[in-house]
């Protein structure tokens, strides 16, 4: 069996698993798995770019995904009336002042001769800058958050089409990644891991607490859909043409409309995934990709050949994070809401890592395969665990404490299974299902 036949077979198997869900459970859940699988695949391509190509250990994926979601709210929701005049400009001004303070401190740190005078100047700049920033920031925020806090209280967005928000999410994540990379890249791998882990937590903390930005834990609902590809169920059900077509398939119009909406998303996501996959493949095969792998395998040698390792690392860190940001924006669009409280590093950082490692780090197709497979497992382990638990508890008497505990806890089998899969793959097939060529 040749390499390509084996890989095709692997994809067919995963596709078959999703189809099986459609036949045995419901097509609705099958398409849901497909959609989130597509988004996960994009995240996995981003992480694979950083880890597989360049060996950068980024465990802050969650932060970039969340920033992508934030971009959707800032770009495509309607602006809150009066928010800008009652404090929006003040917030922007204060953020600029804050940034100016940091830039001034960095300039002093690099330009002034070292010594006590330098330290004192930096401390003075930071202290004064902080209080000026708070003096402008606090009243502006209070102004914005006072506007109709039950449904708004935030700046709102630019009211642009939601598809514009996807690249915007990538840009926002890329900007954050550039800032982070400037400071944290160049640290050794463990430290970079801790640094990115921390930054992701901070991004989530900001999104939870800064209500003026995207309503914090009060969540933003009703994010517009990417019409006309994705419609609204009610409109479809009132469209006689659609009802006729549904009838032709032998489907109930209500079910047909939900399926059609979800398939619309699948189509869009598939286009994005294929485009990104093509680009990643091109990058991998190009001289740039070979250079990246050379840097990954031996930094010292690559440096001796005249490659600027730090700059290349920064470049690929920004690119990979941007892809995660796009995926995050797509996910928020699919959900139709932004809920900062639901971002959890196990789900959004470490699970993506499991996808990349299981699929095969360094191989884009491997990352995509791993994403679909692991997402399928993530969704299906819960019902399988439940079934398994009812099987082993079937001989126990009804109402026994152990039985009910086992059945209640079956939902938590997920994390356990993911860890087990990761460890087994690392042990017996450390290069993943589709290894790097």
């Amino acid at each position: 069996m040749t390499e390509s036949v084996k890989n095709t077979l692997l994809f067919v198997v995963v596709g078959g698993l999703i189809l099986l869900t459609g036949f045995t459970q419901s097509w609705n859940s099958a398409i849901l798995i497909l959609n989130m699988g597509l988004i996960s695949a994009i995240m996995a391509i981003g992480v694979n770019l950083q880890w597989g190509f360049a060996g950068l250990f980024n465990v802050g994926v969650m932060g970039f995904v969340a920033l992508g979601g934030l971009a959707v709210v800032l770009v495509s929701t309607a602006p809150t009336p009066g928010a800008w005049s009652s404090g929006g400009y003040g917030i922007v001004l204060s953020l600029l002042l804050g940034a100016a303070t940091v830039v001034a401190a960095v300039l002093v740190a690099t330009r002034m001769p070292k010594g006590r005078a330098q330290t004192l100047t930096i401390v003075a700049i930071l202290t004064v800058g902080f209080f000026v920033y708070r003096a402008v920031f606090d009243p502006s925020v209070a102004g914005v958050e006072a506007i109709d806090p039950a449904v708004a209280g935030n700046l709102g967005g630019l009211n642009l089409p939601v598809l514009v928000a996807w690249p915007a999410g990538g840009l926002l994540a890329a900007g954050a990644a550039w800032l982070i990379g400037k400071t944290a890249l160049g640290l050794r791998s463990d430290y970079l891991a801790i640094a990115t882990l921390g930054i992701a937590e901070i991004i989530i903390a900001i999104m939870k607490n800064e209500d003026w930005l995207a309503r914090g834990v009060k969540n933003v609902y009703g994010i517009p859909r990417p019409a006309p590809v994705v419609g609204y169920e009610v409109e479809l059900q009132n469209d006689p043409g659609f009802v006729a077509r549904a009838d032709w398939f032998g489907l109930d119009p209500v079910i047909a409309s939900t399926l059609s909406v979800k398939l619309g998303y699948s189509l869009l996501f598939m286009i994005v995934l294929l485009a990104l996959l093509w680009m990643a493949q091109m990058a991998l095969k190009s001289p740039w990709g070979r250079m990246m792998r050379a840097i990954r395998d031996n930094e010292v040698a690559a440096e001796a050949m005249g490659k600027d390792v730090t700059r290349r690392h920064l470049q690929i860190f920004v690119l990979g994070s941007a892809i995660c940001g796009i995926a995050g924006a797509m996910m928020t669009t699919l959900d139709g809401q932004l809920t900062p409280g639901t971002y959890n590093p196990l789900r959004f950082t470490f699970l993506v890592w499991v996808m990349v490692i299981v699929g095969g780090s360094g191989n884009n197709f491997g990352a995509v395969l791993g994403a679909f497979l692991i997402w399928f497992l993530w969704v299906q382990v819960e019902p399988m665990g439940l079934w398994f638990m009812s099987l082993i508890t079937s001989s126990m008497p009804d109402g026994s404490a152990l039985k009910s505990h086992l059945i209640d806890s079956a939902a938590h089998m997920r994390l356990f299974t993911m860890g087990l899969v990761l460890l087994i793959v690392l042990r017996f097939s450390p290069r993943g299902l589709i290894p790097e060529k």
């Binding site: 060996g55 250990f57 902080f130 400071t183 944290a184 640290l187 050794r188 791998s189 463990d190 430290y191 891991a193 801790i194 640094a195 882990l197 921390g198 930054i199 937590e201 901070i202 903390a205 939870k208 607490n209 959890n344 590093p345 196990l346 470490f350 890592w353 499991v354 490692i357 209640d408 806890s409 938590h412 089998m413 997920r414 994390l415 356990f416 299974t417 993911m418 860890g419 087990l420 990761l422 460890l423 690392l426 042990r427 450390p430």
Partner: protein
């Protein structure tokens, strides 16, 4: 100007909580730093090891409470601690044999071990959720306060009260005992010395006949004991919730790195540095300042630099500053 009241308020809201939190972080960071020194990787599963140990303590405490055993004014969890440590030791030794040992023999790169520890993290996290569930569990009992704010006010006649929770007192005492034992072990016993030798120079240690597997085993035993103690103390002081332990990973790593990875003394110093900065930056200073400042200058706002939700940001900022200006940490660690 009322320095005495200011001092009491400061102790009550900043010093006492920060000392307790710092001790918990220090114990956690000692575990991380020992693993780094001996096994040479950053253990992402440490937070979940703490959660696992604490979970056993919670279960044993419930058992003891049901059996009517109590420890007088002290929390029953202290009686459960030895059992919990034992359980945690069993778990980490099994993990080491089944998982880490293979990569040690392969001489795998540290970053592979970090990824492996991610897998272990998932499994331990799943185990804890499976056994006890993801919710908050209360298991502290006994007297709540060593000295309550009201008693303190009645005793001293001051306007400000100073409350010291039993859990805070216990945390400090247990942490001091644990650290003293650890340092005695590392510096005075033959096994401890062989551990330090192995950490300093693996090849030389092997040459002089030190058995590496034994060193690794003892390291895991100590780490399990420290992690469980830290986990139980944190749970007594706040409450037991599995996800919170996972989130403790960040301040613990920050403590270990700030002090210098691989350096036990640094881990303790780092723990207190992180704890004190987190508490001082997120504390609303209005109360203390009103006592200190003259009437006319009394602050109008809360004088809180950052809201408490940003405490991660504080530990992280310190971590970054130390990494950028002194990559080996404040006390010389072994990482480059």
């Amino acid at each position: 100007m009322d320095l005495l009241n200011a001092l009491v308020a400061l102790s009550n809201f900043v010093i006492v909580p920060a000392v307790a939190y710092g001790s918990q972080l220090a114990l956690g960071a000692l575990g991380v730093t020992l693993i780094y020194g001996i096994l040479r990787f950053s253990n992402f599963a440490h937070g979940d090891t703490m959660a696992f140990g604490a979970m056993i303590a919670v279960l044993v405490t419930w058992g003891l409470q049901a059996a009517g055993v109590s420890f007088g004014p002290l929390p029953t969890a202290l009686l459960a601690l030895p059992f919990a440590i034992l359980g945690c030791i069993v778990l980490v030794l099994i993990t080491d044999q089944l998982v880490y040992r293979f990569y040690r023999e392969q001489k795998a790169k540290p970053v592979i071990l970090v990824i492996v520890s991610m897998g272990v993290m998932f499994i331990m996290n799943g185990l804890v959720r499976f056994i006890i569930g993801p919710d908050d569990q209360r298991f502290s009992d006994g007297a709540r306060f060593i000295i309550s704010a009201r008693d303190f006010k009645a005793m001293t006649g001051l306007r400000e009260g100073l409350a010291i929770k039993t859990s805070q007192g216990i945390t400090l005492v247990v942490a001091v005992v644990a650290v003293a034992l650890l340092f005695w072990f590392l510096n005075k016993t033959r096994t401890g010395k062989s551990m330090r030798a192995y950490s300093d120079n693996e090849d030389l240690a092997l040459l002089s006949g030190i058995n590496p597997e034994r060193v690794v085993m003892i390291t895991w035993i100590i780490v399990a004991a420290l992690a469980t103690t830290a986990g139980v103390l944190y749970g007594l002081d706040k409450s037991f919730k599995p996800f919170v332990y996972f989130q403790l990973l960040l301040p613990i790593f920050a403590s270990a790195i700030v002090g210098g990875l691989g350096n036990p003394l640094g881990a303790i110093a780092g723990g207190f540095i992180i704890a004190f900065s987190e508490v001082t930056v997120t504390y609303a200073w209005k109360k203390v300042l009103t006592y200190v400042a003259p009437e006319s200058l009394a602050p109008s706002g809360l004088v809180q630099f950052l809201s408490t939700d940003y405490k991660f940001a504080v530990s992280f900022a310190i971590l970054l500053i130390v990494l950028l200006f002194k990559p080996t940490g404040l006390f010389k660690g072994k990482a480059v």
